[in-house]
Symmetry: C2
């Protein structure tokens, strides 16, 4: 069982990666990311893709996490601090009192990621999604409905940003993802790997409920407002979610949930 | 066309309702609410339930809203201020530069609200939802899929809180709602009005996709984590959203979107 190391000096060099968390997360970290809160920590500890480097826990959270600490590899240091020291280290009040630093892995090429997927794989493609809440929400839904992978264009924000992981309740640590360049490059990578590509759009031609999955299927989502680029819509099957309210389009994370529900529901119904 | 009144003193008594917006919203206002941002303002101005009392606009937003101002009743004052004065009035940086004060209406009794609904009405019942993002997201979905009304138990937060309205992109101003007391009282009001009551729960007995709507239907949603009270689940048809990922349950706003999609989709399919 790992013995927690008490930290009393916010300048202690051992907890350097936890300093000024918010600012450093916003500029992006090369090789690490920060996980926050108990739910996310438990997902982090039970997955194998990302190695945990250390934990920083408020003293009053130790007891509730004793099972996690017991299972932790002995080389992973666990730091603990009083609430005031922890807030001073991090740079803002860290209400959850639970932080972890983990190591990013190099992202595979889209071709490598896609070629390893099953013949009935369901993949999401995110184009221009710059909002961490939405990206986190989409990863949560992707994990819930068992999507096989997520491709991100260059303009889509980092799923391993602290807030995105938190909103995903850890889904961002579970669903494989990679960068695929421009939206156009993302579409081409899917096509090379034999995916049928569905583009969700308020102006889509087919209602979602009439779509049948045949083999590998990808679902493209664009930002609220601008939506998917016209060039992408022009060369894909466009799909829409029928709405009776005559009101604004849906939030993109909710849209992903509805589409994943429909496409995985239909699959189970067909196999009856 | 209403002539904007320039405000240069943050202490100007005419803009009193805009002072310390955040703090006063959190304690709750008796007779008014605050709407924020262009999208919400446009919804506010085209609905008739809530009367607009005044607008406060940053000078640089006037031009883009000239069509709104042209359509505004002449008794509604429009105040305008430079960004610094506006921030000083409101108490924090108000990036959108657009605020409105509107009047709340007395809430009808649940019986009055429900009795006026059509024979195929679809109503949401929210029990214990204390998160403004979730309540806002649910109202957005309710508006998108044309739900007829929303009932709230005492523990569910205010849909007319500024942030909830914003997340709802104005849906909270469009879908009729009222308070119904405890969760139990909410269920009883639905029953008196002849509603079939579906309770969404990860442990629900029927998969959502197999539910057929017959007449008036209500969909109950509880908070993530605790879920709906056991007493409510014991006396209603419990429904679940099948998920293949073996992962955490869905966000409750996403859940509402999926359920509304399924229940309104099926209705249109049946009527073919």
């Amino acid at each position: 069982m790992v013995q927690p190391v008490a930290v009393t000096d916010p300048e202690d060099p051992r907890i350097e990666p936890y300093r000024a968390v918010r600012e450093r997360d916003l500029v992006g970290r090369e090789h690490r990311f920060v996980a926050e809160g108990e739910v996310v920590l438990r997902v982090l500890l039970r997955q194998e893709r990302f190695a945990v480097e250390s934990l920083l826990l408020a003293e009053n959270r130790l007891e509730g996490l004793s099972d996690c600490l017991a299972a932790l590899p002995s080389h992973v240091p666990v730091y603990t601090a009083g609430r005031a020291v922890m807030d001073a280290i991090v740079g803002f009040p860290i209400h959850r009192g639970i932080l972890a630093i983990a190591r990013r892995e190099p992202l595979p090429s889209p071709d490598d990621l896609l070629s390893g997927l099953p013949e009935d794989a369901l993949v999401l493609g995110l184009i221009g999604l710059a909002n961490h809440d939405n990206v986190g929400g989409i990863f949560r839904n992707a994990a819930a409905f068992g999507a096989d992978a997520v491709l991100l264009d260059d303009a889509t924000c980092d799923p391993l940003y602290r807030k995105a992981i938190r909103v995903s309740v850890g889904g961002a640590l579970l669903v494989p993802f990679t960068r695929a360049g421009t939206g156009q490059a993302l579409v081409e990578a899917l096509r090379r790997a034999g995916f049928e590509i569905l583009a969700l759009s308020p102006s889509g031609r087919e209602p979602l409920g009439q779509v049948r999955r045949r083999g590998r299927t990808a679902l493209l989502l664009g930002a609220e407002g601008p939506g998917l680029p016209a060039s992408v819509l022009a060369e894909t099957r466009t799909v829409t979610i029928p709405m009776s309210g005559g009101f604004d389009s849906l939030n993109v994370a909710t849209t992903s949930g509805i589409a994943l529900y429909e496409l995985t529901r239909r699959e189970s119904a067909d196999s009856c």
